[in-house]
């Protein structure tokens, strides 16, 4: 099995990119979630090396907990307010969880697998696991691994009722990684290889899947830190790797996370081209 390296990563909380007229046209019907995910993926692709990989050799793996939850409610609004026969087909088609992945495939010309995975635990890690499998077994040479969440007043209200002031609503936005099959032509440069990723989910009180109370991550055995927002695990993981990137990542990198709903570990190592 081929080694898999992380070629680029980007995270954003909302729209932090200049939308070209062409992109605005392509995204005219898209909801915020899709816009954030597309913008974030665009920034990641921009900084990824190896510009030309055939579209068939690229896949997209999108993981999300709640997906376009508010778009579904906007659709429901048209049903409740305007009645049957008056609902918006555009909102309906954008209320499915794989709407964002469809846009990613269209906008970035991805013709390989496009898979959306839904989990309340760590959907970004689940998507990463599937993407690593697809790259290491040769199904694709490159994968875009992404996650994204949008704010939902309904879920925030439920979270506050369940966890009181402990509940953290957000931050929301998107995280994108580009992972590649490691190839010899990348001479001389250091690359971050994914050595091992393991996710073990365990049963817990369903409320915790929303409140995430008791979720704690640690990096190379140092300082445990609390995360409570729905995307915090993906943000903090990406942040830790980026911090370690500036030449200091000589040692192996081990990131792990624990919560009442399970645990996960990601091991990375530097390899030389």
């Amino acid at each position: 099995m081929a080694a898999v390296v992380i070629s680029a990563m980007h995270m954003s909380t909302g729209v932090d990119f200049e939308m070209s007229a062409e992109l605005a046209k392509l995204l005219r019907r898209a909801d915020d979630l899709t816009k954030w995910v597309v913008g974030c993926a665009g920034s990641a692709f921009k900084s990824a090396p190896l510009p030309t990989i055939p579209p068939e050799q690229t896949g997209v793996f999108f993981g999300t907990s709640f997906g376009p939850v508010e778009t579904n409610f906007r659709f429901l609004d048209t049903l409740l307010d305007d009645g049957e026969g008056q609902v918006s087909p555009t909102l309906f088609s954008h209320s499915v969880h794989n709407a964002a992945a469809g846009y990613l495939a269209r906008i970035f010309r991805i013709h390989g697998p496009a898979i959306t995975l839904t989990a309340y635990t760590w959907p970004f890690l689940t998507a990463l696991q599937q993407a690593v499998m697809a790259v290491s077994t040769g199904v694709v040479r490159r994968a875009l691994v992404a996650t994204g969440e949008m704010p939902s007043p309904l879920l925030a209200d439920a979270g506050r009722q369940l966890a009181g002031s402990q509940f953290t609503d957000g931050p929301f936005g998107a995280v994108s990684w580009i992972i590649d099959r490691f190839s010899e032509e990348r001479e001389g440069k250091q690359h971050i290889a994914i050595k091992h990723l393991e996710i073990d989910e365990t049963p817990c009180d369903a409320a915790v899947l929303l409140t995430r109370s008791g979720e704690v991550w640690s990096c190379n055995g140092r300082t445990d830190e609390q995360t409570t927002g729905v995307l915090d695990y993906a943000f903090s993981l990406t942040d830790q790797i980026q911090k370690n990137r500036g030449g200091q990542m000589n040692e192996d990198f081990l990131w792990s996370i624990k919560a009442p709903f399970g645990q996960a570990r990601l091991a990375l190592a530097m390899i030389k081209g």
Partner: protein
């Protein structure tokens, strides 16, 4: 009984279970296909209230079958059927049948690494209208619907009910979800990520998706007519279709009869449009080609179970792709089973995998229920409903298309 174990046949299907408007187990489904039973009706009041006249294919009101009840009884306390949504109950009914067929008990499973890959569409959305209505008026309704929603992740739920551990995910690739879940689970087995994989899809009829499809003008006021020149759209259905996958050598060791093998899986994005398939079915053509390459079967299929939803756009795109794919094999029998089950969304790929494998095992099946006059515009002709088809071999293909431009295909061999 010794079966040849080679790499190609490493992913063995040892159990299958399904439930839909066509029946409450695999056998009833096959009977419905043989007899051309089409349980297509106006939306029953017990499902939801609607003024719309578009018919649907509802599964039985009691979504949990006898064997499903037995499974929950074995698990004992802690699982209350009240807190389980209809989608979850449909899934459990199919899981129980498949588990029984595979000759596995919960105790057996708890000793193994069990992967769960489930496809759904409705099952992942918060669809409690009463809660939402009251919330948007500024009230704080009781939180039970939110808790049920959080409890409703099908893969997490099933692992917790069975008390098993292993890779676990829910695929939400719209109408191709069930097919993708089985394809992913097959990859887990061949990569030795688990010993047993439980895979397929489940979905219930919901007022929300029902109105959504109507607004897209994709539904027919009559029972659907896949591949017919007069087809006007799909009818929604509901159900679940689940298979158990195991490694070839484990099946030999357990001395059980395999039902068949999963030989190949292909998935490719259209990168085209949010709701319409690529008119030439380009993504589908790539997906079936990829699946065939991985399976190493060439193009000699004995049966193709198409997506065949009966929308104008799907059926033309799909036959275009198949015409380009089956060069030199234009006589391959092509059918759609949507006229028997309705379009069960995330469950469709699971149910159709089972119907394909069942037909291949029996060596015969029937043409497309609801199709009288094949659309003359098609470049390749599927089988219409008057035809009984004798199959010449054991290898078949089941395919799915989805919103967002998803295309997926599984290649199956019957034992």
């Amino acid at each position: 009984m010794a079966q040849p174990v080679n790499k190609k046949r490493s992913v063995t299907i040892t159990g299958m279970g399904c439930i839909s408007a066509a029946g409450r187990n695999v056998e009833e489904h096959f009977y419905a296909i043989e007899q051309g039973v089409r349980n297509c009706q106006q939306v029953p009041a017990w499902l939801f209230n609607t003024q719309q006249a578009y018919p649907v294919y509802p599964a039985s009101q009691e979504a949990l079958t006898e064997i499903g009840h037995k499974l929950l009884d074995t698990v004992g306390a802690g699982v209350s059927t009240h807190s389980l949504g209809r989608t979850a109950l449909l899934m459990l009914s199919a899981v129980a049948e498949a588990m029984d067929m595979a000759g596995l008990t919960i105790k057996d499973l708890q000793k193994k690494r069990v992967g769960v890959a489930m496809g759904t569409t409705v099952g992942c959305a918060f669809n409690n209208e009463d809660y939402y209505k009251s919330f948007r008026q500024g009230d704080h309704p009781g939180l039970n619907p939110v808790i049920d929603y959080l409890n409703g992740n099908l893969a997490y739920l099933l692992q917790n009910i069975l008390g098993t551990r292993g890779p676990s995910l829910v695929v939400t690739n719209a109408c191709a979800s069930g097919t993708d879940a089985i394809g992913i689970a097959g990859d887990w087995i061949s990569s030795d990520l688990c010993d047993v994989a439980i895979a397929g899809g489940a979905d219930e009829l919901s007022r929300i998706a029902y109105n959504g499809f109507i607004s897209l003008q994709l539904t027919d006021l009559l029972p659907c007519r896949p591949f017919d020149r007069d087809r006007q759209g799909l009818n929604l259905g509901e159900g679940a279709g689940i298979v158990f996958l195991e490694k070839g050598e484990d099946v030999v060791r357990r001395r059980i009869f395999p039902l068949g093998w999963l030989l190949g899986y292909g998935i490719c994005a259209d990168a085209w449009h949010p709701t319409a398939p690529h008119p030439e079915g380009q993504g589908l053509l790539r997906a079936v080609t990829l699946a065939a390459e991985r399976a190493g079967t060439g193009l000699a299929f004995d049966l193709i179970n198409a997506h065949g939803t009966a929308t104008r756009a799907n059926d033309i795109a799909e036959t275009n792709a198949l015409a380009a794919f089956l060069v030199g094999h234009e006589k391959t029998p092509i059918i759609s089973t949507k006229g028997i089950t309705g379009h069960t969304l995330g469950a469709a790929g699971g149910i159709e995998t089972i119907l394909t494998l069942s037909a291949l095992r029996r060596g015969s099946t029937w043409g497309t229920a609801g199709c009288v006059n094949i659309d003359p515009d098609f470049r390749i002709a599927p089988q219409n409903q008057s035809q009984k088809i004798e199959l010449s071999g054991k290898i078949g293909l089941s395919e799915s298309l989805a919103f967002g431009g998803g295309n997926s295909a599984l290649i199956l061999e019957a034992c």
